[in-house]
Symmetry: C2
Subunit: 349 residues, 2 copies
């Protein structure tokens, strides 16, 4: 898992690319013009670890709301712009730290040049955000979707470079995971700009999370991806939590606790499911890295419990508590949850 | 995504490896000795698409239960054996179509030879199921976990081959995804036996699904994996559904409907979340492949809706219904769910 070397850039105080950790971002789902609701949602997103927030700017009123929003948040803000370049100018004026332009629906070179001039002046990076669903039908109609996405992005990159602008990030999103992977793999070899990765319109919390973990996981494992966004038809905090879980799985970020728990089988003699669910729920409150293992039997139980910070390997009606690799005590089934919570609360590195 | 070429074998009537589709399997979580509960769970598993079922056989009573279980199910059955080779002999006698032996806790060559002799006679494949949590501490203590897992499996493969037995499947599971990926990648180059892949003790439904999708997705994308098992501390049907969702994401299997739905943003002017959730829920009843897109705005909406079998691209208070790529009608927001359900019900290929 060797990471692709990309040119780092700054979105406000957050570095994307280079040696920086893979950055987690998400997007608000409120009406941007409703500053109260939008600020409230951004604060929730900050709290669950969102490092860059993007807001849609579909009209002048939304662009005007950015000033108030920015005064009330601390996370860097990116304006998401489609169709109308003037909204990008207004967003820059309002102080956004990043822009996302969709080359599929903002194509006029003079208009793009006006946005780029101001972005350059303000040192604001632009993401060239290609999306399979908004590629113009007339753009390379006979090529594969992958080639069309890559070519559209490279065409826009060349244009921005011709304006002596290189604060560029690129994304090439599609619902189709093999196509998305192929497109990012291709562009990763063509440029050194940082890549924003994600699977677009991935679906609801359950299927969208699986689709995102599969696609984003494959890319990250190939060393591709400097910032990720999990797109779910769900609250942004669910996107952020899923993003960190993917990054934790690949050991690219540490973020909060990790629960190892066995699937249980005909060998298990205690009721592991509700115990694991209850501990999982309790761990949501914990912000520090902590590995907890809940294991149902003697096959892998002692091994996994020993490998965790806190573990339990269960037998018939009882279990052995492990701490930092050592078996510390034997407890009865009725005390499982209580004891594990006490161990979690009192755990010292 | 070129698939690794493996030697196919048969678990009952199911082919694993070769050109066969990647097979979905899972394991019962009932007490195997409770034949009623176990048969009931296996029937649920069959119904949600499980192609091979594994049961734990921790004692003689569990082994004895297999005869009754087998009389009442149609899916091939694998016995999961640890510690005691005699349970493998009893399971073979009871007619299981496959065995899983853990080389970490069944190591006596004479005992293994006795099992192999009967398995060969009955043409029953054996999975060499290595698990990080049950590797003996004294086995290559100074090597990396990856090397220890691979070496343990290869040692057992060599022993089975020395007995002229080659109905072999291999698994190398660990909670650690990079290690698991590394181990499967290594063994994929060393042997041509089919590989059973999965991430072990992956956790509860949410985090375990993300961990499994990431790890299994990376391997499948490398062409590795002939059968998969998603291990979750949850009902086996959740494991099976997650397995199919991963396979669908990578276009390796078709299985039921697929929902494309946008994450929504400040641009969306209708309430997409409950609509997507309700359609998702409705689609659970549908068994055939069907792609439905629920899109919140004009950016990617028409593109994605056109690409689906049935789609809706929403505007302000209304939406355009697409069928097989054609816009068919404009409907009001109050009719969204009703109309989509009617379109789903009446859809003909």
């Amino acid at each position: 898992m060797t990471r692709r070397v990309s040119i780092p850039l700054k979105i406000g105080n957050i570095t994307v690319g280079g040696n920086a950790p893979v950055v987690v971002q998400s997007m608000t789902k409120t009406d941007t013009r409703d500053t109260c609701a939008t600020i409230k949602q951004i604060k929730q997103m900050e709290e669950c670890g969102c490092e860059i927030v993007r807001v849609a700017v579909p009209d002048r009123e939304a662009a005007a709301a950015i000033t108030t929003i920015k005064q009330n948040i601390s996370v860097p803000l990116i304006a998401d712009i489609h169709f109308d370049y003037r909204l990008a100018l207004l967003a820059l004026e309002a102080g956004v730290e990043g822009l996302r332009l969709n080359p599929g629906n903002i194509a006029n070179p003079e208009q793009i040049a006006r946005v780029v001039a101001i972005a350059k002046e303000r040192v604001v990076p632009i993401r060239i955000g290609v999306n399979a669903g908004s590629l113009p039908a007339k753009f390379e109609p006979d090529s594969s979707l992958c080639k069309r996405m890559v070519d559209m992005a490279l065409k826009q990159v060349a244009f921005l470079e011709s304006l002596d602008f290189n604060l560029i990030k690129i994304s090439l999103k599609s619902f189709d995971v093999p196509t998305t992977v192929q497109a990012y793999t291709a562009i990763a070899q063509e440029t050194s700009y940082p890549l924003h990765i994600g699977i677009t319109e991935a679906g609801t919390a359950w299927s969208g999370t699986i689709r995102s973990a599969t696609g984003i996981g494959i890319l990250l494992h190939q060393g591709i991806g400097d910032t990720i966004r999990v797109s779910l038809t769900a609250h942004p905090c669910q996107e952020i939590r899923a993003a960190y879980e993917i990054l934790k799985t690949l050991k690219l970020r540490e973020y909060g606790p990790t629960l190892v728990s066995c699937p249980t089988c005909g060998r298990t003699q205690v009721d592991i499911l509700p115990l694991a669910e209850a501990v999982d729920k309790y761990l949501e409150k914990i912000n520090r890295p902590l590995k907890v293992a809940i294991m149902g039997c003697v096959v892998n139980g002692p091994g996994e419990a020993r490998d965790a910070d806190i573990g339990i390997a269960c037998g018939k009606g009882n279990g052995i508590i492990f701490k930092k690799g050592e078996a510390t005590k034997k407890i009865e089934e009725k005390d499982f949850l209580k004891t594990l919570i006490a161990e979690i609360d009192s755990f010292q590195e």
